[in-house]
Symmetry: C2
Subunit: 712 residues, 2 copies
């Protein structure tokens, strides 16, 4: 009887041994899974019959148990369709559709006592997600990964927007080249960054954005990076094969797994429209819904900070003392004050006043706590305690003052990448925040990691960031992590992890400048994984203004900085410039005061990576719309079609535009603000200066309000 059953099963699965196909709900994407010679699994993907990924092997090489590479037979396949919607806590749109066809393949290794793994493929209209799953079974409990062998065989020598593979930093400037050119450009691309660990062989980081010569857009990344190292991509410039390169630990191992478990999703977003790439919610859809019960305390945050002055004004510093060697047990009131400390009670009060006057939620204060004298470059474990203020920062008084003004102070937990020290002190640190009225924290991981030998992108640190977010949630604290591994949509699961840096942000404008095209690439790369705390809003772009010998320049016009609040999605948005600079340009500043940070709808109107992005969004729960458009170094005319507005109504549009003589390098502060009447039939053709932008705010208006205004 047993034999008979087995025979029947074999008959049932026999056809599966060859191949299994799948199409996306809209039929544009076609996917094929098959077992190759020696039982190696392969997949391939095409879009409207154009190959996207040529047959590419799947597998995982292990260190201790037999590898998951070959000798597989297909035991079963299951097909499923899901089509539903869900509502993010904070997001670019109120409702997200989750529509895919799924293929679940169960693979058995007969030579390994019928050990089983599963491959789960989800084909959406906007791309493919797949992962490896390791069910609980007698023959498999624990294993150590040597390398993941997932391949992405490209169908051509695409144009690619890339930064070099590195285990410790994602703050590189973007390169644009052909895939085949990466090996020869790797060295040039690897600019110096503190605490970097570049991968020696040609490799790129994800999200990796490509464009084929026949006009397909293609983005490779991952979703739901939990308990696994971040994936980089080895690049074979000759065969155009990309392949997974996981971040190792101190011993060179690449992951410690226990069944029942799975890898993160490997994602390939595809379209023939660049705007579709930006509109894709595939990565979010592949993340798990949050398990938090109460999310009422998770809110968008617009903030200012005691921050930019550390980079540009030349007058202030994080550190309080002139000493270069301090210990947390020292009496910091005995240090020699350097006279330039930024986080003083008085300076913070000034910022609280400004925030209250202009409607900001919070004031970030960096440099408030002891330890900044020697925090960097010493690989010091007990570097900060997160609870002891400098002598000139009065925690209780500022708590009282901020509360009276209806403003929150944003906590800053720079860890110097001493993660063990942070974990040890985490509960105390969060309790201190609760006790003193803080509800959000900016974390920082500058420098080489402790545990020494671990990397920012390794499994241990990946788990650390999640541990911090999860623990913060217990205290109803929102987290904005800097220098952490790049996001993979985990803000769906941990919605209090509201934003991350994890890329080259505005601070680099004060350290050599960002390329004019930089912010047109970010939405196609870094932001595919989640919101970025880009810290826009710099009005005083020429930094020589400060007379401190600062030769740098923010490489945008003033208006482009406004546009960022729309093109660069984040529920956490900083107005990063000094308060006094906003007071010099109150009409332009009005846009930053008005703009929303959480949205009902998003419309990507125009986009081309490396060239331009124009995006419109409807504010969450309000009849207000905001549009942002940016360009690279090339002057261009943005076309803003207002068809996203409700039909048959009148709207008051305030248009913030580059002045006719504006340019990022010569006249960045030339701008105009004009009010016009628009309807859903209006189209605005707006000239953008070199590295310029356009910003528009819209609200429904009565005829009276529009009286005398020109029409578009």
């Amino acid at each position: 009887m047993r034999k008979l059953l087995l025979l029947l099963m074999a008959l049932t699965v026999a056809p599966l041994l060859r191949a299994q196909t799948l199409t996306s709900p809209d039929k544009n994407l076609s996917f094929k899974f098959e077992l190759g010679e020696k039982g190696v699994p392969y997949y391939q993907l095409s879009f409207k019959k154009k190959p996207v990924i040529k047959p590419s092997a799947l597998g995982i090489e292990t260190k201790d148990v037999a590898s998951f590479l070959d000798g597989f037979t297909v035991t079963s396949t299951e097909l499923k369709t899901v089509n539903d919607t869900w509502n993010p806590i904070l997001g670019e749109q109120k409702t997200i559709r989750n529509h895919y066809n799924e293929l679940l393949v169960t693979l058995t290794q007969k030579a390994q006592k019928d050990r089983v793994i599963r491959l789960r493929f989800r084909l959406f209209n906007d791309g493919l997600g797949f992962r490896y799953e390791f069910p609980k079974q007698k023959e498999l409990n624990y294993f150590v990964i040597k390398e993941e062998r997932t391949e992405f065989n490209l169908a051509g020598d695409h144009k690619i927007f890339w930064i070099p593979g590195d285990y410790d930093t994602n703050e590189y400037p973007y390169m644009t080249s052909r895939v085949s050119e990466i090996p020869s450009l790797q060295k040039k691309a690897t600019v110096q960054i503190s605490a970097q660990q570049p991968i020696p062989n040609p490799s790129v980081q994800t999200p990796s954005m490509m464009k084929t010569s026949d006009g397909l857009y293609l983005n490779i990344h991952e979703a739901a990076l939990i308990n696994y190292p971040a994936m980089h991509l080895n690049v074979d410039g000759k065969t155009l094969k990309l392949s997974a390169h996981l971040t190792p630990d101190a011993l060179g191992n690449k992951g410690y797994l226990q069944t029942d478990t799975q890898t993160p999703w490997r994602t390939i977003v595809v379209s023939d429209k660049a705007t579709d790439i930006l509109a894709s919610k595939l990565i979010l859809n592949l993340n798990e819904p949050t398990k938090y019960q109460d999310v009422s305390w998770i809110k968008p945050v617009k903030y200012i900070g005691v921050w930019w002055e550390y980079f540009v004004a030349g007058k202030s510093s994080w550190a309080y003392g002139t000493e270069t060697n301090v210990k947390l047990t020292d009496d910091f009131s005995k240090l020699t004050p350097n006279g330039r400390h930024g986080a003083t009670t008085q300076n913070v009060k000034k910022h609280i006043d400004f925030a209250a006057t202009h409607g900001f939620d919070a004031v970030l204060v960096e440099g408030w706590n002891i330890g900044w004298e020697d925090w960097f470059g010493n690989w010091k474990e007990e570097v900060f305690d997160f609870v002891t203020p400098y002598p000139d920062f009065d925690v209780k008084e500022l708590h009282r003052y901020a509360a009276a003004k209806g403003v929150k102070i944003m906590m800053h937990h720079e860890t110097s990448a001493s993660a063990t020290n942070y974990e040890r002190r985490l509960h105390q640190a969060f309790q201190f925040m609760v006790d003193n009225g803080y509800n959000s924290v900016k974390t920082g991981y500058v420098g080489p990691v402790i545990p020494r030998g671990e990397h920012h992108d390794g499994q241990w640190m990946v788990n650390h960031y999640i541990h911090v977010a999860n623990t913060a949630a217990q205290y109803k604290i929102m987290v904005n992590s800097h220098e952490a591994v790049r996001p993979t949509g985990l803000h769906r699961t941990f919605p209090n992890w509201i934003a991350q840096e994890s890329a080259r942000g505005t601070e680099f404008e004060a350290m050599g400048g960002l390329a004019p095209e930089h912010a047109t690439i970010l939405p196609f790369t870094r932001l595919m994984g989640g919101p970025m705390d880009y810290t826009p809003g710099i009005f005083q772009t020429d930094l020589s203004y400060y007379g401190t010998g600062h030769g740098n320049r923010v490489n945008t016009t003033l208006v482009k900085q406004l546009a960022y609040y729309v093109t660069m999605y984040s529920p956490l948005q900083m107005a990063a410039d000094l308060p006094e600079n906003y007071e010099r340009f109150p009409d332009a500043f009005q846009f930053i005061k008005d703009v929303a940070a959480d949205w009902d709808e998003t419309y990507v109107l125009e986009a081309e990576p490396g060239d331009y992005v124009t995006t419109a969004r409807k504010a969450k729960g309000k009849n207000e719309w905001y549009v942002g458009g940016i360009t690279d170094e090339n002057v261009r005319t943005a076309t803003i079609n207002f068809s996203f507005l409700p039909k048959g109504k009148q709207f008051l549009a305030t248009v913030y535009a580059d002045g006719p003589d504006a340019s990022y390098d010569k006249k960045p502060q030339s701008y105009t603000v004009k009010k016009v009447a628009v309807t859903s039939k209006s189209v605005l053709k707006q000239r953008l200066a070199s590295s310029g932008g356009v910003a528009v705010s819209l609200k429904e208006a009565s005829k009276d309000e529009l009286k005398g205004l020109p029409k578009l």
Copy 2:
């Protein structure tokens, strides 16, 4: 004027450039420091004119800054004498004398911009302690150690009691050989132990006990191991040079230091009497006094446990379920019970009853918390949570029950060496203890360490153990750490860290047996650093008794187990056998019930490493004395001279002796108990069986009480 001053200083220090000598307060020890060629520092030591350490180099090799090896000149020397006393919280004697002559040498490296280090030497009557000090200075803030280059050039090919160097375990059986024989014996000595990382070159661990052919005893160890890796000793079998070998981290680095700082003390205890070695308080004297304000809650603990049954009875297990793959998020009530779980409410109550009846302070319960199904061998980080009991262990009910009986339950925190997991959960774990009436914890570190690549003896873990002890003190919790780095007298500074395992203890009697000489070596080696939780008191030494196919045997007589409570100092003492075995031998058990664990005075009466130890102690605050004597495999007659008793008084002595036919391997349970009258003039000559012992309890007695008793 400045030049003149410098000249005067130079004149003052000129004589120092050659050498500086020092003698011990009793003049027996002579020490010499000198700078050799190329400005390399050397020291040497002799005892009663016999060389102990021949001229040996000092220095530290660094990775980042210039090394501290040569190019030194002596800038100043300072001499000092200290002679005072102090009282340990718990200890072998009420008052400890701290008497030494000190030489502090300031060394300058001119080629390194006059960078300065200091060498501090303290010469006691019982030996030498010295350390490197790195004062805060402009030219030195942070550095990374490549290796410490401290040498110990032996004056002869001494007999040595040793275990092989290993970064992760100190649970080796002892070898006895000549120093020159170590290289050829290294392989044999390196028996298999879980999570071991033997040093490849010939090396030994400290405390390293030696005896010269002309009868000198010599012990090398370290004191106050804080923020530094543990030191092993490289062995050059040809030149008889021992040299420091620090434990590396994951990257092979050996220490990260920040000035103002110092190394631990390197200690050399010397005497021509073996008993003096055991009586030495040099290591304790070199540790810092505690900074704890309230120490009233730190008390000696005599305890029993749900423990030995896991090793011998064959019937019970730490784990609750039959599963071999569990996660802390699992519902453990859904596991399949294996029917052998030891830590059940009922079994613990039985132990509480026994403890209450016989006056024990506490009951250790291992296996109470979820996670034991797959805790070992999987290098699993989230292995225990320290707060969730198994379904059959009722925390609240046992809290109530134990409190009602006046007994404490001893917490067990096995970490599986996942130190990061433990640190993350530490406050929660200790708060759980406080909430549920626990005041002491046995910690365990079985397995390879997480952070992966770190070692049990490395700087990071050294700091971890101290962090745990220090944090426990905040909760008034006493700590007994197992599988931690061996102690270095830190129980003076952290007196709640009352005991450690850190050597091959009684558990190994159930896993192959300990050599009969083992416990005669431990006081000269492992116990030089601090108290050991040796877990003595096994009455049922033949483990075949349990009928579970257990072929092992505890290699002592029953009486030798009694003697351990005196020969093996610890303020934490377990009666490790099953309660039912004590009930079978109530007269012998009486000694365990009576014996103290904290002392006013200690008298080492006889001792020879590897052969025998006889020790007498006066109970803290009581007119009671206890004597323990043990021998190795050789029958011998111990001489117990009662001259330590107050003169002119009468004492009732209860003598627990091996029976005339006793032997550890054939008749271990043959013993006699007799009461005799003694005075300070009495001398007891007592025959000890092969691996046997003698135990005596004494109390002042009236004539009536002594009536009819024989006199010694």
